[in-house]
Symmetry: C2
């Protein structure tokens, strides 16, 4: 039986209700939501709205219509960044951002957006004071990852949101690694744009993600097309969510995502976090005892989001992961994890890291199997 | 039992293998394709590639890597149009295009792209000579719908592709209504960009679509982000499909789509077309006999793509569709169908149409039920 420790890429397994609802959606109400008034289409539309409501509940968003569905967090990030930034604007990001943030910003920078990259500390945490020092008169946006996908380090969003608000800067959070696993409250954290993945901590299927847009924040569109609304107009409608949702939605995916979120709401985010913290703490403690293993990220499991990155002496990380897979049946990930700058920050740009990312359905027994394997590899 | 005649929006039902493979994907190989080298991730990646291969077979595309997955046809169209057109370029579209083409082009027009709209004939067919007359020195792209989603009228792509090639204009086809239902050969038809939906004629789930890009045709990206490749670089990789596929793909959706395409390849596109032509022909013939019914589109079922649009005297189309649904349990669609200009072309801009779109799993018996209902409503 595989020990799956790659939940930072995609969570697995999913609650069985996710799969069952997707199959039910396709078999029983697989019509086009919001396109045509027949009952099958309306039932599909209601399921999509139910998912919006549950997301709103999870993130303390007053109006579910401010939530836009995307195919993944990357699309949500692209929509947010390209929707808000224009040539001449200044944007601040941290060095721990994923390539989903880095690459669109590098492209925008080549088109005249001014970009500052604030280096996080060696454990992957960004300092509010360092952000503050970089704010300029034309700073429009601050983009911060809630937790790094390389080190798992969680950034404290409350002071960052407060700073952004004080300085009149929009605050965007990449919650790909934390949605469903760490408490998020867009009001409390003063988040203007929240991008999230559906298939990681939210326990939904791949093909889902979304963006929360604070009411009144005007964004340009990334895509235009049929919305099932204002069809007489050759222009995109102004109202949400239609403005940002062109073409047919991934209804079965959203129906599955809805079940993942329901599971989280029933279990409680704090309970999920507590379980992951225990697993993470146990793994960090035991890894420390293994000679040759170097740990990255916060040393405090409370400041970690279910991601543990290590290197083993001079071993090639991808080779180690292949061995973990083939010899020990452990699914982990080795390499740069699509985050080119983060490795420069923690000093692993050449070697990358071996990443273990336990999820809600992992047990201490799973970790023991991984630890035994690491011990054997380090001892070779 | 519902009679579902809304296949132009989303096909239903799906072959059972579609649903089963999606469930299997989530339960057994629900890892992240192309992210990490463990076996579950590799199995997911292989399934995605298998789908690319089957799409390539269906459209006679030599290299499956020239196929890019998108969440729907609308995204594929946005990627193609925004990827190829720059201010100063001239683009030609037809008046039968869906809002998925109209709205992005109207936006591009406001940013300096020159746009010509060639009016189709009253039955919805565009004349090659009319296109030719509109070609200018700076014409970069010709966009034509393979079949209108309002009238079902099929455009003959061979002469259009030949004209585009002769004139040095790129040729883009919106095959949302025809992929899987009409033969498409990108070489024979000289198609440079082919956008298609996965959840209509291809019988896959919602949340799938794609774009074929002719080798060597340079397109700008619509989104950038993690690709699982060249992770050390802050810039998007240049090679396909990674360049245009950022973030996690909809793997379960693609696994389901693959089963839909396999069903089509096994059944044969020509057999699928033949069955739909028979249904369409039967319905057109019978509708002609009903007093007060007016038919739109080609009068020849061979030139129709499983879409039959009508009006009934002065009746409100949406009211008729509600009655069809509630009283007769028939799922059809009334209104403008996200195609604002097409109705101007056929003269239904005020009333819209009632659209019946039979699919592969419909029978003559289904149509008889719809015809009886139309007869009753028209006779009221």
């Amino acid at each position: 039986m595989v020990v799956y420790l790659d939940n930072a890429a995609t969570s697995w397994p999913k609650p069985e209700a996710v799969t069952l609802e997707m199959a039910k959606c396709i078999r029983e109400y697989g019509a086009n939501p919001g396109r045509g008034g027949h009952r099958m289409a309306m039932r599909a539309g209601e399921k999509v709205y139910e998912c919006r409501e549950n997301l709103a509940k999870l993130f303390s968003i007053p109006d579910p219509l401010q939530l836009v569905f995307t195919v993944n967090a990357t699309e949500a990030i692209n929509l947010a960044l390209k929707g808000i930034l224009a040539p001449g604007d200044h944007v601040i990001m941290t060095s721990m951002e994923h390539n989903a943030v880095v690459r669109p910003l590098k492209k925008l920078a080549s088109a005249g957006v001014e970009l500052s990259i604030v280096k996080a500390g060696p454990r992957g945490k960004v300092k509010t004071t360092d952000i503050k020092e970089n704010i300029q008169e034309n700073t429009k946006l601050l983009v911060v990852t809630h937790a790094s996908n390389v080190t798992g380090t969680v950034n404290d969003l409350v002071p960052l949101g407060r700073l952004a608000q004080e300085q009149g800067v929009h605050f965007m959070v990449d919650a790909a690694q934390t949605a469903g696993k760490q408490p998020i409250d867009v009001g409390l954290m003063k988040i203007d744009l929240l991008a999230f993945s559906g298939h990681k901590g939210l326990l939904g299927p791949q093909g889902t993600g979304g963006l929360y847009i604070r009411p009144g924040l005007p964004l340009d569109t990334l895509k235009e097309g049929g919305t099932g609304s204002a069809s007489e107009s050759p222009y995109q409608p102004a109202f949400l969510p239609d403005r940002y949702e062109s073409g047919t939605l991934n209804t079965p995916g959203i129906a599955g995502l809805n079940e993942g979120i329901k599971f989280i709401l029933e279990t409680g985010v704090n309970n999920i976090r507590e379980h992951e913290n225990q697993l993470t703490g146990y793994m960090i403690e035991r890894l420390r005892e293994i000679k040759g293993v170097r740990l990255y990220g916060s040393s405090d499991p409370q400041g970690q989001a279910g991601v543990i990155s290590i290197t083993i002496a001079g071993e090639d990380c991808q080779v180690v992961c292949r061995e973990l897979d083939e010899k020990y049946n452990i699914a982990a990930r080795g390499g740069l994890h699509c985050a080119c700058l983060a490795h420069g920050t923690i000093g692993t740009q050449d070697q990358g890291t071996i990443r273990f990312s336990p999820g809600h359905f992992n047990t201490v027994h799973d970790l023991d199997r991984a630890l035994q394997a690491v011990e054997a590899i380090a001892g070779d």
